[in-house]
Symmetry: C2
Subunit: 157 residues, 2 copies
DNA sequence: GCTATGCATTGATGTACATCAAGAAATGAC
DNA sequence: GTCATTTCTTGATGTACATCAATGCATAGC
């Protein structure tokens, strides 16, 4: 477990890397994302304080995610082996599965407006800290679409 | 750990249930799914032989998923507590996270055709065993759209 | 200060997929 | 076997969102 200090913009891991690490965020904000064959970026997860950010790829296979720092961030880095040895936090794992399940259900059943509303409720602190285009990327819509959703919601009030 | 025999069509768990169980499939096929506010069904997961099917909801909260048997199925049922006590299979959990991650990335970056092709590659045995409309529901598209994708693919050969 | 770069918004147009409706084919009940 | 139900397909139409392009605002570099 090594503590490192990543300046805003630092790339910690790139798609295709084999030795994927696990990043425990102490302060700041990380993000993990892919870039698809069409060159489009899709944010998989934001990692604020106390989050564990990692690619879930199988051991010894190239990982799928880029991970970088959106803010100056202090992180504890470990290998997966280290983490497994010291007995991982089961509850955290289960919570993680719950989060993923919610995300999948949301992606399958909600439209742009519903996704945005869900996001603002679930991550009220993150929305202040990242550009809207990243929120859009996380939600699976374009910045333009998000802008229009927000416009529409602000009028209704 | 109780062994039960679920006839095709049996509903094992419904959305809103509190005491969500864990189902280890011995033979047959389960499926877990939600129904959204618009009444639409979305398949979250298929559970063939040796799969663990469960709602990942937090303990003591109403779960989100229905679980039923698509074929006559033999299952071992346990509570989450039981499973946690006897030390869960960490590798299985990590593999599960990997699967979820892939699903999320696919939902965000692939169109109907790509999703279908990915599914046939990843689950070649399941596609034979379920009606196409369930495949469509798993992929997050309508049966009509799936039909057209398949038509288009068959012509290209 | 000025200029360059990135971000958000707005409008015009395009498109992938949904929805609706009808018919054909397969499956199941009895 | 026959009838009913479900599944799959096909066509016509609708719509949510993407894409493309232009503009206004910030912010950052120097």
């Amino acid at each position: 477990m090594k503590k490192i200090n990543a300046k805003k913009g630092t790339l910690l891991q790139r798609k295709g890397d084999i030795s994927s690490k696990v990043y425990l965020v102490e302060s700041g904000l990380l993000r993990s994302y892919t870039i698809d064959e069409k060159g489009k970026e899709h944010i998989y997860m934001f990692g604020p304080e106390n989050w564990l950010v990692a690619d879930n790829c199988e051991p010894n296979t190239p990982c799928q995610l880029f991970i970088d720092a959106i803010e100056d961030t202090i992180i504890n880095v470990a290998t997966k082996e280290e983490l497994l040895k010291e007995g991982p936090d089961l509850n955290a794992l289960l919570r993680r599965l719950d989060t993923m399940q919610n995300r999948i259900i949301m992606l399958m059943s909600s439209n742009a407006k519903e996704r945005y509303e869900h996001f603002t409720k679930t991550y009220p602190n993150i929305i202040q800290r990242v550009p809207l285009k990243m929120v859009a990327s996380y939600l699976g819509i374009t910045p333009e679409a998000l802008s229009r959703v927000r416009h529409q919601l602000s009028k209704k009030k």
